[in-house]
């Protein structure tokens, strides 16, 4: 059982408790946050519409491109449309962490959130993941429907491939969160960090979202693989359309390594910036 402080106890409060109570804490944060997102179901309409529009426009573009050739760098027309859908699910579903974190930091809310018995990063992670997973689930539903209509047969043909795709999307979500958290926390030093996030977004789009890495010149593709950006969207999209066990495993391992490195980075950035919190008012 957790070691909660007893109000009748004159001693110092106990530390936050067991793994089970920690899991309950973060799971509840994710669920409550998801519930808050679901408070306005119509809020999904905007992202559903934009996502649908993007997929439709790019499916037409790729259809035009593939009208004169059957395959480009190993991708056929249907594969390319499914690639784009999966890559966009990852980008659309997990791209909002920065703005809410940044608002919390600039609005001073971070200071108030510190007065709670939780790991600040872990709490934000769970709070952000609840609605993000809800969003991406809805987008995935729409994406599958659009893919069947505009692309072709569902490319995931085995349970193993499906599991690898889901795992890759989850790792992409973690990587997105940790990188965006680290960028948002730079506000401790530079007051306006939107430009950094803008560059991050653009690199994520160029290196694996709009185009598969295989479309880039070999040197650029090789260099991109040494950055985290392809693991945000290229990795899950690749699981969906060009699955094979050996490559899939390597990609998942690289994604996990990048997610772990980004987690360490965001912890370090927060630890270094925490002392700079200035909460004015009153």
């Amino acid at each position: 059982m957790s070691r909660r402080p007893d109000p009748a106890d004159g001693g110092t409060p106990g530390s936050p408790g067991t793994l089970a109570s920690a899991l309950r804490k973060y799971a509840t944060a994710a669920l409550v946050s998801l519930r808050s997102r679901l408070a306005y179901p119509t809020a999904f309409a905007g992202s559903l519409l934009t996502f649908g529009l993007f997929v439709f426009v790019f499916s037409r573009i790729w259809s035009a491109v593939y009208s004169t050739q059957a395959e480009i760098s190993g991708y056929d027309r249907a594969g390319m449309i499914w690639y784009f859908i999966v890559a966009e699910i990852s980008i659309f579903g997990f791209s909002r962490f920065y703005s809410s974190l940044s608002e919390d930091l600039k609005g001073g809310q971070v200071a108030y959130l510190l007065a709670r018995p939780y790991g600040f990063t872990a709490y934000h992670f769970s709070q952000a993941m609840g609605p993000a997973l809800g969003d991406s689930l809805v987008l995935a539903g729409e994406g599958v429907l659009l893919g069947l209509l505009l692309g072709g047969p569902f490319p995931v043909t085995s349970a193993l491939q499906g599991a690898a795709l889901v795992l890759s999307l989850l790792l992409a979500a973690c990587l997105q969160f940790f990188l965006q958290f680290a960028i948002a926390m730079t506000a401790f030093w530079i007051e306006e960090n939107a430009a950094i996030f803008w560059i991050y977004q653009k690199l994520a789009l160029i290196l694996g979202t709009f185009l598969p890495l295989e479309f880039l010149p070999p040197g650029a593709a090789a260099a991109a693989r040494w950055t985290p950006f392809p693991y945000l969207s290229w990795a899950p999209a690749r699981m969906a359309v060009a699955w094979n066990f050996g490559d899939g495993l390597k990609i998942l391992a690289a994604q996990a390594a990048w997610a772990a490195a980004a987690a360490l980075l965001c912890r370090a950035v927060f630890a270094a910036g925490r002392g700079k919190i200035t909460a004015n008012g009153g």
Binding site: K25, S36, A111, A115, P117, I277
Partner: protein, 341 residues
């Protein structure tokens, strides 16, 4: 036993100086200038278990900064603070298990969800076992009379309803110390009275130590037993409410109305306000005998009405707050509303 012990606590913020004009902006890119702003300076006090302390000061005095250092939100520049035997900065997470915080201007409830969801989340955050949480929640819902609001989205609650929910939420984990920063801000008189009664009950029934900042003198008079006044970042008054109020007794406000016009000039005691047939006087009983003053006023003519009132506590505090420097504020505090300043 001291639940809060503060020794020589200081906090200095480093603020970037931004001069006027484009030239200054360009210079700042190469060589930014910073100014040290001392928000809290060498503050020392202690609070015993079960005490209800008013922590007062004008805007920008350092109240919130002090509370944020005591709750582990801000790191002190120097000095030492212990809350429930812990260093708030080093043991922030552990300390959070034993304290509750309500910041009147920052909600801890989820805006789009009913309070019941926030209660569930806070219960999980503070690791309250589910059975204890259900019992504690039922008790607080009854005591705070918030049963009807528990399933209404917070955005649809009135401010008074929300604050009641906020305070109840901060007590879910049975904290031993409750930090309240402006809990009654913006509330109407009826709700304020209810909140004060609930806070009083918390102290008497549960023995919770309450550390309260407020600009509302009513809060302070009705709830607190002790006042610490901070001004220009330093403590200028730290004494019991009884002592503070006793100073008010040293100064009496006299109002008098006559049947006919009279000459209201008393030797050594000019009226602060006068008309042909009425006037008001402020009498320092350390300088003037109250009975003599009243007798002199009665002798001036046929009296229709005469009132004698204590100086409002608000005036004394306002006098202290009005000090342009720490020394002036201290002097005003010592003088009991500035009579001897």
């Amino acid at each position: 036993m001291s639940v809060i012990a503060v020794e020589g606590l200081s906090k200095t913020f480093r603020t970037r100086v931004r001069g006027e004009g484009l030239g200054s902006s360009l210079r700042a890119l190469v060589r930014p200038e910073y100014r040290a702003v001392p928000a809290v300076r060498d503050v020392s006090f202690s609070v015993e278990e079960g005490e209800v302390v008013a922590f007062l000061g004008p805007n920008g005095a350092g109240k919130s900064t002090t509370i944020k250092m005591l709750t582990g939100i801000l790191t002190p520049s120097s000095g030492r603070a212990r809350v429930l035997g812990l260093d708030p900065c080093k043991d922030r997470t552990r300390l959070a298990m034993g304290i509750g915080t309500v910041f009147g201007q920052k909600s801890q409830l989820w805006f789009h969800l009913p309070p019941s969801d926030s209660f569930r989340l806070l219960g999980a955050i503070y690791e309250v076992p589910p059975a204890d949480l259900a019992r504690r929640r039922a008790d607080l819902v009854e005591r705070f009379g918030i049963g009807a609001y528990m399933d209404v989205p917070v955005r649809k609650l009135s401010l008074g309803e929300r604050i009641r929910c906020e305070i109840a939420a901060s007590l879910l984990h049975a904290p031993r110390v409750l930090f309240l920063d402006e809990p009654t801000i913006g509330l109407d008189v009826v709700v304020k009275r209810e909140i004060r009664a609930l806070l009083g009950e918390l102290r008497s029934r549960d023995g919770v130590t309450i550390f309260l900042t407020s600009h509302d003198i009513g809060d302070i008079e009705k709830i607190c037993k002790r006042a610490i006044i901070i001004h220009h970042g330093a403590v200028v008054v730290d004494e019991s409410m009884k002592t503070l109020k006793h100073r008010a007794l040293a100064r009496k406000y006299i109002g008098v109305k006559y049947a006919r016009p009279v000459n209201l000039d008393l030797p050594g005691l000019p009226p602060v306000k006068k008309t042909e047939d009425a006037g008001s006087f402020v009498v320092d009983t350390r300088k003037h005998n109250l009975q003599d003053v009243i007798r002199a006023l009665v002798n001036l003519g046929e009296v229709l009405d005469l009132t004698v009132e204590d100086e409002p506590l608000e005036d004394i505090i306002a006098e202290v707050f009005g000090g342009r420097t720490e020394a002036e504020a201290r002097r005003a505090a010592r003088a009991g509303g500035g009579l001897e300043s």
